[in-house]
């Protein structure tokens, strides 16, 4: 049995998405900037995609900019806004548990002379609004907070944060990295006072190399890539038409029956959390219930090294992550888990299970049974 429980790393592409992309690559392969019919045909896919996404976010389609994915969206949002607004101040705020696409960009901006405040989180992995309010200064130009954490699934109080920021100073820009939250929740930037929103396609059963950044029309932003001036000059480069069309198709499919799918995910999460809690000396990090994301469960298993468990599960056809996939190549323990105050001996014993709409109860039961079988064995052979 093959069980893919690493959906926070990436997801299986929808068949419809793959079919549409194949058709575009082989038949409607025109460059949307070309003046002839083939170009117009390609442009139609982009218009359609903008329309789908704009409706989904309840924003204007002029506010959607296609990128190569979450990392580029985050870079464009942070660097683009920092440079464009640095005359108003050079202070930025983010959290300690952001994805490296945000954290490393912030590090880079610090080298460029910006000052960055990193908000701490509580033991569940959530920021406190008081900390945010206290961090804002007259110099603050941008706040960036992730919607849903990729490692533990903790959800940040986005609407409340938006309100708090704008109450202090409506000119402060609010960026939300919604790579993990989009496709699980309805996100309406205008209502939540979000000025910029990053989304990635491959986390919602779309293609890799696709994504978008929503930019409120009032936002002053500079491009970070220069070239042919496509997408209003904000993001030069020939539009990746198959990826953009695939992304829009994935959005349509994911949101078609969202409430039922999310309820199903929470059901799976409940069964899994309940089952995994039966194992001795196991902690579920973050929110094991419906206050956390429906698709991520982070589990610390005392006395078992995460890599070893990962490979033992892999041997049984079950694919999971140690910490998060993006940082699993580096040996140092995750910043998010450390920020949450997870004890030192559990840092290296934490595994992330992440579900998708393709996950079945049968797969969860198989995974639990496998864990019941192998964890006692692995504990027997630990470093003494």
């Amino acid at each position: 049995m093959e069980v893919y429980l690493d959906n926070s790393a990436t997801t299986r592409c929808f068949d419809e998405v793959a079919a549409l992309m194949t058709q575009i690559m082989c038949e409607d392969y025109g460059n949307p900037s070309s003046l002839h019919r083939k170009g117009v045909q390609a442009e139609k896919y982009i218009r359609y995609a903008k329309d789908v996404i704009a409706r989904n976010l309840k924003v204007n389609e002029k506010e959607i900019f296609f990128t190569s994915g979450g990392t580029e969206s985050d870079n464009l949002a942070l660097r683009g806004c920092a440079y464009a607004n640095c005359r108003m101040g050079r202070h930025l705020i983010t959290t300690q548990i952001e994805h490296p696409a945000v954290l490393q960009t912030m590090k880079h901006l610090e080298e460029e002379g910006f000052r960055v405040t990193y908000l701490p989180v509580d033991e569940k992995g959530c920021i406190r609004l008081e900390d945010l309010e206290r961090a804002v200064t007259g110099e603050t130009i941008l706040v960036s907070i992730m919607h849903t954490n990729n490692e533990v699934g903790s959800m940040q109080p986005i609407a409340e944060a938006g309100r708090a920021i704008k109450r202090i100073n409506p000119r402060i820009l609010f960026h939300v990295d919604a790579v993990q939250g989009y496709g699980k929740f309805r996100i309406y930037p205008k209502k939540m006072q979000i000025d910029l929103l990053s989304v990635s396609g491959h986390k919602i059963h779309g293609p890799k190399g696709s994504g978008f950044l929503y930019i409120d029309e009032k936002v002053k932003i500079h491009p970070i890539l220069f070239g042919g001036g496509q997408q209003n000059g904000i993001r030069s480069g020939t539009e990746n038409v198959p990826a953009i069309a695939g992304l829009a198709k994935a959005v349509e499919l994911v949101y078609r029956d969202l409430d039922r799918e999310v309820e199903k995910l929470y059901h799976i999460k409940r069964i899994f959390v309940e089952g995994v809690s039966k194992i001795d000396h196991v902690t579920v990090n973050g929110h094991p219930d419906e206050t956390g994301a429906p698709h991520v469960v982070s589990v610390s298993i005392q006395g078992v090294r995460s890599e070893v468990l990962l490979h033992a599960l892999e041997d049984k056809g079950i694919y999971v992550s140690a910490g998060s996939a993006c940082s699993a190549r580096k040996p140092q323990p995750s910043a998010t888990l450390r920020a949450m105050g997870i004890s030192q001996d559990l840092l290296g014993s934490t595994i992330r299970f992440s579900f998708s709409i393709f996950t079945t109860i049968e797969e969860i039961n198989y995974t639990l049974q496998t864990m019941y079988d192998i964890i006692p064995m692995l504990r027997k052979y630990t470093r003494r």
Binding site: E307, V308, L309, L310, H311, A312, L313, E314, D315, R329, K330, P331, Y381, R383, R384
Partner: protein
């Protein structure tokens, strides 16, 4: 501009009646690496020299880079060869050659002519003198220095005339395949690929064995070792990498034997398995990357205890090297970056905090008896499930 290469080889030259075997192996290796290069080439062996003639356009840098990986090559001389159309034409060619190869003419030189074809109208001394004169006339900045010239310009009169002055150092050593075959214990660290490189440099063909311990080591760790084998194969030719599943044996030792002795006993079983695979594959020795005192299992006492299980000779080319010296070689041959990728290898995973550094052979043997119930079966099983990957550059 160059149309051929003269390959110099040092050590083979002193061989006796079997010299042709070494030369043939060298020609074989040169032909092998030239297959990677764009263009067609003809490799010939005449009068104790090897010539590579380009039969078409070729990428000079690519050819030189590849020839630098052939053991046995001590020098690579890019050559131009021209038909004999009289001394005036030859002079013009030499003047043109110097112009193209040496931008800065402020150099000292000496012409060194050789006549393999003795019916040439001038003798070597005359050629030296005349060509020297022509060059001095053409480039007044150039000076003659017969003792320590910056540029030694060789002009060889054969069927055609060969002109060369540059010698790019090769890796030296002896051609792979001229000295039998040995089995390298490849771990994924810095040392073992270097050890393989050094033994291959002495003309030995390399097979390799890697001990994989899933789930304690990942498929990425395995891929890393395959990548390392491939980097070694750049110099050593295709490497047959035997991947042995070692988990059961490791866990069994862990269960039955004192923990401080785990590594040493484990290494003894690795050597035993490596030796059996070596024998099955016509390898005449084992190669390890051990260096005295580097870690607990590489003290002289530990080495003596591990060595005791083998009867094949164990080659340890790094035995007297410091770590920094090994790192230097690994950087030079291009294995370092891959070696330091952070994946566990099976030696580090169960390591005791304080492993024995002075194991006693009698004690180790007695403790190995604890394994007598199942170990032979496990070893056999590991050998039977051997997975072979052919790594080639």
């Amino acid at each position: 501009m160059f149309t051929a290469f003269l390959i110099k080889y040092a050590e083979i030259g002193v061989k006796g009646k079997n010299r042709y075997l070494f030369e043939e192996a060298l020609v074989h290796q040169i032909k092998y690496v030239l297959k990677r290069c764009e263009g067609g080439f003809k490799v010939t062996r005449t009068d104790g020299r090897i010539y590579i003639h380009a039969l078409s356009e070729f990428d000079y840098d690519e050819v030189v880079e590849n020839l630098k990986t052939v053991f046995g090559v001590s020098g690579i001389c890019p050559v131009i060869h021209v038909p004999d159309e009289g001394f005036d034409k030859l002079s013009a060619t030499v003047v043109d050659y110097i112009d193209k190869v040496y931008e800065d003419k402020n150099i000292t030189f000496k012409v060194n002519a050789r006549r393999a074809r003795k019916n040439y109208p001038m003798n070597s001394m005359e050629i030296n003198r005349e060509l020297g004169g022509v060059l001095l006339e053409s480039y007044p900045e150039m000076k003659v220095d017969v003792h320590h010239p910056d540029v030694m310009l060789y002009v060889e009169i054969r069927e055609k005339i060969y002109i060369y002055s540059i010698e790019i150092p090769g890796p030296g050593g002896m051609p792979v395949g001229s000295n039998g075959k040995a089995m390298l214990l490849l771990s994924g660290g810095i040392d073992s690929p270097v050890a393989g490189y050094m033994i291959a440099k002495r003309g030995v063909k390399i097979d390799a064995v890697y001990f994989h311990a899933p789930p304690y080591t990942s498929d990425r760790a395995k891929q890393k070792v395959i990548d390392l084998a491939r980097l070694v194969s750049r110099y050593a030719g295709p490497v047959y990498l035997h991947i042995i599943n070692f988990t059961e044996i490791q866990l069994y030792i862990y269960e039955k034997c004192p923990h401080e002795e785990l590594t040493i006993i484990m290494r003894r079983y690795m050597m035993r398995i490596a030796e059996r695979i070596a024998r099955e594959n016509e390898c005449l020795g084992l190669i390890t990357g051990e260096s005295i005192g580097q870690v607990a299992s590489q003290t002289v006492q530990s080495l003596a205890v591990t060595n005791e299980v083998c009867t094949l000779p164990v080659f340890r080319p790094l035995i007297g090297f410091d770590k920094m010296e090994i790192v230097d070689v690994s950087e030079r041959i291009g294995t370092y970056e891959t070696s330091i990728l952070p994946f566990e290898d099976c030696c580090t995973i169960f390591v005791a905090k304080h492993p024995v550094t002075k194991p006693n052979l009698k004690v180790i043997r007695r403790h190995e008896e604890y394994l007598s119930e199942k170990i032979d079966k496990l070893v056999q099983q590991a050998i039977d499930t051997d997975e072979v990957v052919i790594a080639r550059w």
